[in-house]
Structure formats: C-alpha cells, structure tokens
C-alpha cells in the first residue's frame, strides 16, 4: 500500500458524486492529513454537503473511493463528529441544551434517557469546556444561535472524534459568535490533533486557521493553501469567467459576476461587499 494512507485522516481517490447522470464533482484525489484544517468553499449546489455525507457514509460515491483512517466510511462511525448549521427549534420543545449535548454520547443507542452519574459527569465536562454551563439547562428553543452552536460543539466532542465535519456551522451567526465558534473548533484541533473539514460560504472567520482550501465550482475544483487558491487568476480559471479577489481590512472577498453566487466575504442575500456589475461590464 502507499505511504499516505498511514497519515491520512480522509483519502479521496478518483472520487465522484452526483445524482443519476449529473455529477456534482468528479476525479477528486485528496489526502486530508491528520490534524489538518481543510475549508471547503464554493457556491450553492456544488456538492459541499454531499462531500461531507460521503465521508459520513450516508451518500454513496458514483465513482472512486473514500477512506476514513484507512477504511471505507461507515455510517455512525465514532471517529467522526458532525456539526450542522444552526436551526430554529420550537420555543416550547421540552429538550434542554444538555439533552441535545447528551445525544452525542448515546443518542443512537436503544434504551431510555436515564441519567447515570458517569454520563452526567461527561456531559457536564464538555458543556464546561465550551463555556455553556450557564445556559445548558434552558430549553434549546430559547437559546440564541451562538449558544446553540456551542452546544453543538460539545455534542460532537462527546464522541471524542478524530475528525470533525462542520457543515456551515457559522451560518446566521454574528461576527462575534462566528469568532467564538471557530476558536472553539480550532482549540479542539490544537489540543487533540483532530482533523477539521469545514464547509463554509465565508472563508474569513476560519482564514487564520486554515491549512488548505478545497474550492468547488460547477464540477471543477482547486486544492491548495489560501494564498494559492484565493487569487483572481486561479479562481477565474476555476469559474471559467472573470473573478476578482479583493483584500480589504484583513478580509478576503471573492467577487464573481453572479452576485449571489459566491461572495466569500458576505453570506447569502445580503448586498455584496463590492459592487459586482461594474466588474461584469467589461467581461
């Protein structure tokens, strides 16, 4: 066998994914090293979430292979922690923050939710580690997005994962909370050597920590360090059209012809940081 398998946390070999005939990406060869922070960027519908699902063993590849720590992905693997984006819970849902965290310990196992001393101790420990002790007893429907995402990290850490898959965990958080959540994830990587795969629209909050980027656009992709990938020339060839990369005030903004396609500096339907139509004119 080849050497990389020994140090690879996740290894894609000629991997392709898609629904039916249409493949969202293909020919992906990538070794994600142990303890690496990989950010996955790209417009909506380019298969970022599919990539995570393939690693989780939920989505099947249409070609090629994935290895997680040298083995094919397996659903429900304890090696992998998963952090989804924040979502709205019903205000009166009778589930407290700590109940949500507890799912990370044994939510998948048959039985009743009895609070044994050992499980309570472990839940308390991770809740303390993410600074959520103050609000973990409140119903999740009454927590803010930032509070909820702290608990999500605690939930994922309970399984003591080697790999953390984060699917847009910063979506709809304000900048202060984005910073707190990314810092907590980075802290886990530093302390436990956990591999991070971080799907995001906005590279800026994670830019200080990222080792490499996987940038997916319309079936094509580019892999490399942020400095290599986030250039006008590289992204223009990836998009197949003129793209500007603007650096201002310590932030990186990718300006594409299609405004709501990708603006790395700003999420979703907000106005882009830089007026794009003017740049589009000379295309």
């Amino acid at each position: 066998m080849t050497a990389p398998a020994a140090t690879s946390a996740i290894r894609f070999v000629g991997a392709a994914a898609g629904y039916g005939e249409h493949s969202v990406w293909e020919g992906l060869d990538l070794n994600v090293e142990r303890g690496e922070f990989l950010a996955v960027l790209g417009p909506n519908g380019t298969g970022k979430t599919t990539l995570l699902k393939a690693v989780l063993g939920i989505a099947r590849l249409s070609a090629g292979t994935i290895e997680v720590a040298g083995r094919p992905p397996r659903r429900g693997s304890k090696r992998i922690g998963y952090i989804p984006q924040q979502r709205a819970f019903d205000r009166d849902l009778p589930v407290r923050g700590r109940d949500l965290v507890r799912f990370g310990l044994d939510g998948h196992r048959p039985g009743i939710l009895l609070a044994r001393r050992e499980s309570r101790r472990r839940v308390d420990q991770v809740i303390r580690a993410v600074g959520a002790t103050g609000f973990a007893g409140a119903p999740i429907g009454r927590l803010s997005g930032g509070e909820q995402q702290r608990l999500r990290i605690a939930q994922a850490l309970l399984g003591d994962p080697d790999i953390l898959l984060c699917d847009e965990p910063l979506l709809s958080l304000d900048v202060a909370h984005q910073r707190v959540i990314t810092a907590l994830i980075e802290q886990r990587r530093r302390e436990a050597g956990t591999t991070i795969v971080f799907v995001t629209h906005d590279i800026n909050p994670v830019l200080p920590y990222v080792d490499r980027l996987l940038y997916l656009v319309g079936g094509r992709f580019a892999v490399g360090s942020p400095a290599e990938i986030l250039t006008g020339a590289r992204l223009s060839s990836l998009y197949g059209t003129h793209v500007d990369v603007v650096r201002a005030g310590g932030r990186v903004v990718v300006v594409t012809p299609d405004d709501d396609d990708v603006t790395c500096g700003d999420e979703g339907h907000h106005p882009p940081a830089v007026s794009a139509p003017a740049l589009w004119e000379d295309e």
Binding site: G111, L113, F135, G145
Partner: protein
C-alpha cells in the same frame, strides 16, 4: 350500586386495568406525536380505526380485530404515501376522507345492534369481553416495550434528525415503526374513549405536560400520569352515572388538566429559564443578542 361495590366486580376491574395500560401507552407516544407534528396523523388513524371496526363487525362481528387490521393498513399507507413531512398531512386527509366514506358504507350493511356503531365512535370499555381485554393488554404492553427500547434513538431522530442520521440512527425506519406503534396505540385508545375522542388521551395529556416541564423524561412522566388520571378517573366517575358515557368524563378530566397547565405553565417555564443560569461557573456570558 356504590363505587366500592363496582370495584369488586371483575368487569369493572378489567376495564380499569385495560384503561390504565392504554393510558400508559398514550402517555408514552403523546410527546413524540407533538414533537413530530403528528396530531393529524393520530386523528386520521383513529378515524380509520372506525372503518376497520365497521368492516370487522360486518365480516366477523369483531370490531376490535377489524380496527387493528385497519390501523396497520393505515400506518402502512401513511408511511408509503407521505414519506416527506409536507406531503403527509394531505395524504392523511385523502385517506381519512375515503376511509370514513367506506366505513359509513359498511355500516349501512351491518344489521346488528346499532349501539355497536356508536360504541366505536364514542367508546365503551365496559362492552368489551374479557378475551378482547386480554388482546388490548398484550398490545399495550408491546407498545410499552417498543417505546422503552426505541425511546432514545426516536427522541434523537425527532429532535435532531440531521445529526441523528450522521450518528447512524435509522431515522426513516424509526419514523415508519413509530407510525405503526401510533396506529396500535390509537386503536386501543379508541376502545376506551371512541375513535372521535382519541386525541383526549393521545395528545391532551402530552400537550399539558409540554406546558409544565422542560426535560424529555419529565414530560414523558407527566404525560403518562395525566393520561392515567384521565382514563381511570373518567371510568371511576362514570360508575356514578348510568346515562353519561365514560368517554365524556375522560375528556373532561384531560381537558381540565390541560387548562390548568396552560394557566400555570408560562410562569413555571419562564421561571425555569431565569433559574437555569444559577449554576453558572463564571462562563463567559455573551448570550445577549
């Protein structure tokens, strides 16, 4: 006859025991019905237990067997038609309307006692034979065992399906299994309060519990307790009245509990939110958005 004299009679004891088992089953599924937004599925399944019961009466003079078969068919149909949540309600509406029509048709050909028909709609636990009570008990215990085994993954799948899938919980399969558990429970509850009033045991106690408690186990415990008080309390009160059906008392008690819970609930729950941060260990507080 006095209440104590009634309590000495086997039929009364059997009825109280059966109602208790049914109540426990209802109390266990109720919180999931609310969390998964399936109140309409409960109503639809119970209406179609009526169709099954009518068919059972016509074919074999056995309403309960018919209702059980009907419930299984309905559980399967809802599962097959409404895989996605948004489709589910309309699927149930369609099946419900067709099924009720069929039930009315079947009853037009039934020439037995007319009271059998009203018993299906409004319940009459005292009219159930001891053999049928045994069947009810077996099903109720099966539902309890199934809920005991599935409780944790089902809660995970209901509250947090995305992460549950990632952790290897068979979310879709659990949803289908829960439909069948629900169908059986509903059919049982229909024997006590009738198909039209099933919600008084399958939803009302759990809805009251939701108003009062924050944690899943507390809600489950309260829902079971409220369902028990409603079902057996209703039966006991009905011993005192020869004209009013037991289901009326069951509904009255469960609604009364809900009304009280709605009144006192908000103050209880908001107080809990205030006291929750009391065990704060100096964690950075930047919650205020």
């Amino acid at each position: 006859m006095s209440l104590t004299q009634y309590l000495g009679l086997p039929f009364a004891q059997h009825a109280l025991a059966a109602a208790a088992l049914v109540a426990i089953a209802c109390g266990l599924i109720g919180p999931f019905v609310i969390t998964r937004g399936m109140a309409f599925a409960v109503h639809g399944t119970s209406e179609l237990a009526f169709t099954g019961a009518a068919a059972g009466l016509l074919v074999a003079d056995n309403a309960i067997a018919g209702a059980l078969v009907g419930a299984v068919v309905v559980g399967g149909l809802i599962g097959a038609m409404g895989a996605r949540e948004r489709e589910r309600d309309s699927s149930i509406g369609v099946i419900l309307a067709a099924g009720m029509g069929l039930g009315v048709l079947l009853l037009s050909y039934y020439h037995g006692f007319a009271t059998e028909a009203t018993n299906i709609l409004f319940g009459n636990i005292f009219g159930v034979s001891s053999g049928q009570l045994l069947v009810l008990a077996i099903i109720a215990v099966s539902v309890m065992v199934a809920m005991g085994v599935l409780y944790r993954p089902l809660l995970f799948a209901s509250v947090d399906p995305e992460v549950a899938v990632a952790r290897g919980v068979p979310v879709r399969l659990l949803g289908i299994i829960f439909l069948f558990i629900l169908a059986f429970t509903v059919t049982e509850a229909a024997q006590v309060v009738g198909t039209l009033l099933v919600l008084s045991l399958a939803i009302t106690p759990a809805a009251a519990a939701h108003r009062l408690a924050n944690s899943p186990l507390a809600v489950a415990g309260l829902a079971v307790a409220f369902a028990l008080v409603s079902a057996d309390g209703g039966l006991l009160l009905s011993f005192e009245s020869s004209t009013v059906k037991p289901s009326v008392f069951v509904v009255a008690i469960s609604f009364g509990i809900y009304a009280v819970a709605r009144l006192v609930g908000p103050s209880l729950k908001s107080a809990r939110r205030e006291t929750a941060p009391a065990d704060d260990e100096g964690a950075p507080k930047e919650a205020a958005i």
